[in-house]
């Protein structure tokens, strides 16, 4: 181990910045971060050991306790659940003789749930040692169980188990035109850097992550900073459940994304860029490295790009299972090899980002669109969409529809038009923008895809009339409690309290005041949390409570109060130990009210 760690630390230049990458490598080899590795790395990187442990305990894909040689994770996203995930994971646990969340006694395999893997259009999905397993069925699980029990190395597994499809169902201006390598950069230099920024401004391009900040303004702010070391970061930590468009863009349009980053670098004066790739997309890492190498070979990355005296390169950093790292300042922390805890703002990343230097962080799709604008100009882009929302939006559509996959639409398209295209029938509602977005009911399908109406980072989950809204809300609420970074009180404690309070109501233990208590807790978490995660964590409850108050009320009992825990079960230990079987050894869940 010592030699391995020394080599690893050397590869990364003994830089603490690369701690996450180093720990990923240790996890991949030893299936946990062994104590001697912590001690050794603390010495090699000159770090407190507590900092290393902090990172291991922060990221879902790193473990202090040994996991199986085959680390199996099954996606717990709502769409996977709708496709029968619960039955499959139980079946898998049974066949493998391992309980969920545990390692089998022989240490060969571990099985656990994981947050959305970005494969919602081809679920139920999972990961084995970080690689995606798609369209799981009992038959496929039988194959996987045999392969594991036979200790078959992953490279020898049938490749169809790992097949990931693009499922591009509808293209518009961005996805229908394939750019030639270097086209956008050449156009940028031909037009002039300042003029290209003007085009992006004229295009009205806004950030595609969902928040919609004006791209040109962000780039201009960064370029005007007095500090001249600047960075470009592409946010490919696509963690919002139901979103997978960045996976497709990086699989089939990576060159254009990198080109957009390079255009940005030319404009803001950056020499280094990073693609922060979510850990779930490990399978894209090597192909993306190959694309980068092609670009270097073509003189589009590296020194003196296109003979313009412009130096720029891009490195890829992998995440390790943390939704919060999609928040730009948490992402920057993670890039620096730390826990993904959102920073206090101001200062904003454009002023003090990566290593305290001015940094532009944009979504994958934003860079893709920026490259297109650099080629085709701002007016072309601005002619599409609505007043405040220019251009097109790429959606990841999944859930109850005939053709899940990637759809590109001009802003301003109605929800009904989208539902018609993807073959959705008898629709109950749509979750637009993922759990942090909005649940809209069938009365609202004339609403439009736009920043001024329904903003979305790309997630578009369809539910038909057979679905139970409270199950959906429950899944989302548990997700946020699991993904809260824990930095601030309202989110750390509040998301767990929301989970408890919602469980109480959903499980039928709610009474008169419980929905009001739930709502006021929602408001507190929303209004006082440190970052977007906490500020939106109550959205699933708030948006459905506004639309379907009767669903919540129907769960309530006509009493003033019922305990949120199982009273009779609380006597079980004492009952067993005292060997009591009489009626007095039991408790009813509810008492009588004052009348």
């Amino acid at each position: 181990m010592t030699a391995f760690l020394q080599e690893l630390a050397k590869t990364y230049g003994y830089q603490a910045n690369h701690l996450l990458a180093i720990l990923r490598a240790v996890q991949a080899r030893y299936h946990h971060i062994p104590e001697p590795a912590i001690e050794a790395l603390a010495g090699l990187l000159q770090l407190p050991r507590s900092q290393i442990i902090g990172i291991v305990e922060f990221y879902s894909f790193l473990h202090l306790q040994p996991q199986g040689q085959y680390e199996l994770l099954i996606s717990d996203s709502i769409t996977d659940q709708m496709l029968g995930k619960q039955d499959l994971i139980s079946y898998l646990a049974d066949r493998l003789q391992v309980s969920i969340g545990a390692v089998r006694a022989d240490g060969l395999v571990s099985l656990a749930n994981t947050s959305c893997t970005g494969l919602c259009d081809q679920g139920p999905a999972g990961l084995v040692n970080g690689l995606p397993l798609t369209q799981l069925t009992r038959a496929k699980l039988d194959v996987i169980v045999s392969l594991i029990n036979a200790r078959t190395p992953l490279p020898e597994w049938p490749s169809e188990l790992f097949a990931v499809h693009d499922n591009i169902q509808k293209t518009d201006v961005l996805l229908s035109r394939t750019m030639t390598m270097g086209e956008a950069l050449q156009a940028t230099f031909d037009r002039g850097i300042a003029a290209t920024l003007t085009e992006i401004d004229r295009a009205g391009l806004r950030g595609r992550g969902g928040a919609g900040f004006k791209t040109a303004m962000k780039w201009r702010f960064c370029s005007e900073e007095s500090e001249t070391t600047r960075y470009v970061v592409c946010n490919a930590d696509e963690g919002e459940p139901g979103t997978f468009k960045d996976r497709v863009l990086l699989n089939s349009y990576a060159d254009q994304v990198f080109e957009g980053m390079t255009v940005c670098a030319a404009i803001i004066g950056a020499r280094q860029g990073f693609l922060y790739l979510r850990g779930e997309y490990l399978f894209l890492h090597e192909p993306l490295q190959a694309v980068l190498q092609q670009r270097r070979d073509a003189g589009l990355l590296g020194n003196n790009i296109l003979g313009q005296g412009f130096d720029f390169d891009i490195a890829i950093c992998l995440g390790a299972g943390a939704y919060i790292c999609g928040e730009e300042s948490a992402l920057i922390e993670s890039l620096e090899g730390k826990m993904g805890i959102p920073r206090n703002r101001p200062p904003y990343p454009v002023t003090q980002g990566y290593l305290g230097k001015p940094t532009v962080v944009n979504n994958v799709e934003t860079f893709l669109a920026a490259a297109a604008v650099a080629v085709q100009g701002g007016d072309w882009f601005a002619s599409i969409g609505t007043g405040p929302s220019k251009g097109t939006k790429i959606l990841s559509i999944c859930g109850d529809c005939a053709c899940p996959g990637i759809y590109e639409y001009p802003f301003g398209t109605t929800i009904q038009a989208i539902l018609d295209d993807c073959g959705a029938h008898d629709v109950l509602g749509v979750q637009v923008g993922g759990p942090s977005g909005t649940f809209i009911s069938r009365q609202e399908f004339d609403r439009k895809l736009a920043f001024e109406d329904l903003a979305t980072g790309g997630s578009f989950i369809i539910f038909n009339a057979s679905r139970n809204i409270l199950d959906i809300v429950n899944n989302f609420t548990h997700f946020f409690a699991h993904e809260s970074c824990g930095f601030c009180t309202p989110c750390r404690v509040g998301t767990s309290l929301l989970k408890k309070q919602l469980d109480k109501i959903v499980d039928g233990h709610g009474s008169a005041g419980d929905v009001a208590a739930l709502e006021s807790l929602c408001q507190l978490v929303k209004n006082y949390s440190h970052c977007g995660l906490g500020q939106t964590a109550a959205n699933p409850i708030l948006t459905t409570l506004a639309r379907y108050p009767e669903l919540y009320q129907a769960k309530l009992k006509k009493i003033s109060y019922e305990p949120g825990f199982d009273l009779d079960a609380a006597l079980a230990t004492a009952r067993r130990m005292a060997d009591r079987h009489d009626a007095a050894a039991h408790l009813a869940q509810v008492g009588e009210d004052y009348e």
């Binding site: 230990t573 050894a585 008492g591």
Partner: protein
């Protein structure tokens, strides 16, 4: 007599310290007695709570009997008050929550030093222990809270006189203590 306020009190998993503190009202008890009549309480020896205006409960909920008593109070009392640290967050008895109940019972009745004739007591007259000691508000709806270990006599006085005067009870800074 007819217009007197009926008050019931009891101690669940508590130490009766809150009741002792209540008695510290001393001569003010006489004034109180002019307005208040006691129902079930250690002071009266009434076994079951009748219809009351106010129920004062000290102690948390540690066993099945506590649950029954608490529910009786909730059913009979218009206003139910959690009195003292144990009623509010479990207090000192809740420190057993750090030890699994199985270990508690084993230590006390099976393997502890000096245990003779080891056996877990089993009789239908004996209440069973809950796996955790819980505050009152996790079992029934509570209307008011009087913090303190114990709340001082002044807290009881202020709270009851406010209620008797038809005011919303208000405890100012000097009356709010958790210790």
């Amino acid at each position: 007599m007819a217009n007197k306020i009926r008050v019931a009190t009891t101690s669940l998993a508590g130490c009766f310290g809150c009741h002792m503190s209540f008695l510290d009202l001393d001569e003010r008890l006489l004034q109180l007695a002019e307005r208040v009549e006691f129902d079930r309480s250690p002071i009266t020896d009434i076994e079951h709570c009748g219809r009351c205006d106010i129920g004062l409960i000290e102690g948390g909920v540690c066993n099945s009997e506590n649950v029954h008593t608490l529910r009786e109070f909730r059913k009979q009392c218009k206003i139910l008050v959690a009195v003292g640290a144990c009623a509010i967050n479990g207090g000192l008895p809740a420190m057993r929550n750090f030890i699994p109940l199985e270990e508690c019972l084993s230590e006390a009745y099976l393997d502890g030093i000096g245990v003779e004739n080891p056996q877990i007591p089993s009789d239908i007259e004996l209440p069973l222990l809950l796996d955790k000691v819980r505050p009152l508000h996790e079992v029934v709806k509570i209307d008011y809270y009087l913090p303190g270990c114990p709340p001082s006599a002044d807290v009881f006085w202020k709270f009851l006189t406010d209620l008797l005067e038809g005011k919303e009870p208000q405890l100012d800074y000097a009356l709010v203590h958790y210790d």
